[in-house]
């Protein structure tokens, strides 16, 4: 390890060594040849949809903790679905959100700070089965009911209730599939729409729950 001669030292061109102007509004523009490249901020800045699987202890208030944390840390949850698992005391949340890679990693790390959170896994890049369930109440009369039913059948949905002026459609699939079904029947008039949000499971024999060390 040899000392660096100050002549080749980039500090000689460091803005810190240049005289600083007193008024904060009139800082001198950095000399073009001397300015180092700006430090990159964490994250690529390219946002996309991420799916997180979160295993939590089934204790009072745990949903509140997760939701409150996401709000306080400025993450926007697109969907959240919670249910029990086969293990007593453990609940599973599937959470979808938009953000860049680092932001979502940060969300995961913040979730890990919660004492009741056991496991957070970003399955966005994994091979998964993704499903959500939707119920749609669509305006359908004698004249167009057959059309509606045809569309629903194409989407492997089914009619679960029929009234003179409306049908209730049950459909399941990925978020994108449900989106396109909704877009197609929107022309007939959607009276009501409810979606559960995505639930996912890894393809193959791997198990997020079994990987838990309890």
């Amino acid at each position: 390890m040899s000392p660096d001669p100050t002549t080749t030292d980039p500090t000689t061109t460091d803005p810190a060594t240049e005289p600083t102007a007193a008024p904060p509004t009139a800082a001198p523009p950095p000399a073009a040849h001397a300015a180092p490249p700006p430090r990159s901020l964490p994250g690529s800045g390219e946002t996309r949809r991420h799916i997180l699987v979160v295993l939590v202890m089934d204790r009072p208030g745990v949903l509140n903790r997760v939701a409150s944390l996401m709000r306080a840390r400025n993450f926007n949850i697109d969907s959240l679905s919670v249910s029990r698992t086969d293990k007593p005391q453990i609940s599973r949340m599937t959470l979808t959100l938009h953000g860049d890679d680092v932001a979502v990693e940060q969300a995961g790390k913040q979730l890990y700070r919660l004492i009741d959170v056991l496991k957070v896994q970003d399955v966005t890049a994994e091979q998964v089965v993704e499903h959500e369930l939707a119920l749609l109440k669509v305006r359908a009369t004698d004249t167009n009911r057959a059309e509606v039913i045809k569309i629903v059948e194409l989407f492997k949905g089914r009619i679960v209730d029929i009234a003179p002026d409306a049908v209730i459609v049950e459909a399941s699939g990925t978020e994108a599939e449900i989106d396109s079904l909704v877009a197609l029947v929107r022309g007939y008039g959607i009276k009501e729409l409810v979606r559960t949000g995505a639930v996912v499971m890894l393809r193959g024999a791997g198990s997020i729950e079994e990987a838990l060390k309890l």
Binding site: P24, P38, R39, A72, R113, K213
Partner: protein
């Protein structure tokens, strides 16, 4: 006993009498006598037969966790606790005058002692008054257990008298919180709370107990540590740095020409100051520190470089901007440290050591992340790095020393300093440091006083500096110093505060007086909210709205509480007043009437970078 202007105290100041203390473990005869009386009382009370209720389980659990001091204020729903409190003389109850004071005191106690601080308040307003103190502890990673009562379980959710959803309020500002509705849960919850509060990255844990849980009879036993850990499967902090990351870090260190260690609170929490010094000496890398990292390195050490950040020393910020490697240990690249991240340390690669994975990559992108306890990581790194001779870094060290000379010479030691006989704040804190041999516990409030203390007092002992860094809580100093004095009774304890912060929690003077807690308060009175005034002067074109702050006659105020007060308004009165306050057995206050318009320089304006420091403003040329 009130004296002003430090007069007629020359005799007393000469020989400081041995300090009398009844703090347990202090070793004095008085403390010993009280301890014996306590034991006798303990024997007496425990033989009294009565049912064991939830409140007993709580007190037993606190004692089992090693709590010896409880900062608290009674109220309706926690009366069951106050009913049994007398049966547990192991715990010294400090009756604060406001719950906020109790929370800050528990915070100061924890920071000074390294143990978990405990505070308590009743439901509703008692609980909400604790909130500021809990948030302060959360932002500064201080281990604390805050206990509140709540209305009986059957009344929860009914908007009952003094009912508020306090666990909902503390949820985002605690490491964890509990609502306990059953007495049988109390032993487990308290044990978990203490475990969580002090392991991993420390933080406050809040326990809300319903009144009926406190009153129910219970036979629940206290869990073993193994049971506690087994009951918290989601809490497994990683304390060992990954060997591969350590190797990568060692390689970076071997290649670096201008490395700089930046130490934070984590070094102190991990009690890694000796390891840090050994690491710095082996690699000959200078050490800078954040506000809460003060004390991680003895400031007299040749490798101690200084305090960095918004109001840090110019030479330190300059070294950061010039560094080619930053070794950040137990700090979190707060915006007060980095300023604009885009222009922060433009030539530096960064090694970031933190026990909390969420801190890594949160504010700045880093090249080598290491998750682990600061002590373990430093020890691991020290083994892997090469021994570097001082001569090998001579040019670098010479450059840093040159910058330091320049910065200390040009540094603006307050606009008051240049006037003849005007009392400037930096002079006061420097003298306090000098006359206490730099090893007292110094508790800062928030604002200019905090920055003056951090810059000019010179800290030579770990945990000698206590400051509300993250939350910046005005009113912190006096109550936190109260806790610090009880948490580390061996050290002289000073609260350094401005007139603004002092007026926020001055009611604790009564607690200091009644419990004879020997806190010396240095009140830097510029009759202003100094930092606000400074920003208004520099950033808001001198629009001084609401920063002028008339205060009372502080000597009379202290006197009314029975706290001896001294006054100094010229530089030559300072030493006399400090010595006079030191000679008082118990609390004392010194009213320093300092220059009213002194600014803290250098200063980094908001949104600017470390290279854009303002050094002087509207002041005459030297």
């Amino acid at each position: 006993m009130t004296m002003t202007k430090g007069e007629s105290l020359a005799g007393q100041a000469g020989g400081t009498p041995p300090r009398r203390s009844h703090v347990p473990g202090d070793g004095t005869a008085a403390a010993e006598a009280i301890e014996q009386a306590r034991r006798a009382m303990l024997h007496e009370v425990r033989s009294r037969k009565r049912t064991r209720i939830g409140a007993d389980a709580l007190m037993e659990a606190l004692i089992r966790q090693g709590a010896d001091t409880l900062f608290s204020y009674p109220g309706g729903v926690i009366l069951p606790i106050y009913d049994v409190l007398g049966d547990y003389p192991e715990i010294r109850h400090i009756l604060v005058r406001h719950e906020q004071g109790g929370a800050h005191a528990a915070d100061g106690y924890a920071r000074a002692s390294g143990k978990v601080g405990v505070c308590m308040g009743t439901s509703g307003p008692g609980a909400t008054n604790l909130v500021t103190g809990i948030a302060t502890a959360q932002l500064d990673s201080v281990p604390m257990v805050a206990i509140t009562g709540n209305v009986p379980g059957s009344l929860i959710g009914k908007d009952a008298f003094q009912e508020i959803d306090i666990t909902g309020i503390t949820l985002p500002m605690t490491k964890h919180n509990y609502l306990v509705r059953n007495a049988d849960d109390i032993p487990r919850v308290v044990a978990e709370a203490f475990y969580i509060a002090q392991h991993g990255r420390p933080g406050p844990v809040h326990i809300d107990l319903t009144k009926d849980a406190l009153q129910q009879e219970t036979r629940a036993e206290h869990p073993s540590l193994e049971d506690v850990i087994a009951g918290l499967p989601g809490f497994r902090p990683n304390t060992e740095g990954h060997p591969r990351q350590l190797k990568l870090a060692a390689r970076e260190i071997a290649q670096a020409k201008r490395p700089l260690i930046i130490a934070g609170h984590g070094v102190l929490i991990a009690e890694a100051w000796d390891e840090l010094r050994a690491f710095a000496e082996k690699t000959q890398i200078p050490v800078a520190w954040s506000l809460l990292g003060i004390g991680a390195m003895d400031e007299e050490h040749p490798l101690a470089y200084g305090y960095m950040g918004m109001h840090g020393w110019k030479h330190v910020n300059r070294a950061i901007q010039a560094a080619d490697l930053l070794i950040a240990i137990g700090m979190r690249f707060d915006d007060r440290v980095t300023g604009s991240v885009k222009t922060y340390a433009p030539y530096a690669r960064i090694i970031h050591v933190d026990i909390d994975p969420a801190e890594i990559g949160k504010n700045v992108a880093v090249e080598v992340p290491i998750v682990g306890d600061a002590k373990n990581v430093i020890v691991g790194l020290t083994k892997l790095v090469h021994q570097v001779e001082p001569a090998a870094r001579a040019a670098y060290h010479a450059q840093l020393a040159e910058w330091r000379r320049e910065s200390e010479r040009s540094s603006w030691h307050g606009s008051g300093g240049w006037k003849e006989g005007v009392l400037s704040a930096d002079f006061v804190v420097e003298r306090i440091g000098e006359l206490t041999d730099h090893v007292a516990t110094y508790v800062a409030d928030v604002g200019q006083n905090q920055m003056w203390l951090a810059r000019y007092t010179k800290f030579r002992r770990p945990h000698s500096h206590i400051s509300s860094g993250g939350l910046g809580t005005m009113g912190f100093a006096v109550p936190a110093a109260m806790g610090a004095a009880l948490g580390n009774p061996a050290a002289e304890t000073w609260a350094i505060c401005g007139d603004g912060g002092f007026q926020m929690t001055s009611q604790e003077l009564m607690t200091l007086a009644v419990d004879r807690i020997p806190v010396k308060i240095a009140l830097l009175d510029n009759k202003k909210l100094g930092m606000i005034r400074q920003w208004q002067e520099i950033v808001y074109a001198g629009n001084y709205h609401s920063s002028h702050l008339p205060g009372p006659d502080f000597a009379k105020l202290a006197d009314a509480y029975g706290v001896p007060a001294f006054r100094a308004s010229t530089p030559d009165e300072v030493d006399k007043a400090i010595k006079a306050a030191q000679a008082v057995d118990g609390p004392a206050l010194i009213w320093f009437e300092i220059e009213q318009e002194q600014n803290v320089f250098p200063m980094m304006p908001a949104g600017k970078g470390l290279s854009d420091l303002i050094e002087t403003w509207g002041a005459p040329e030297e």
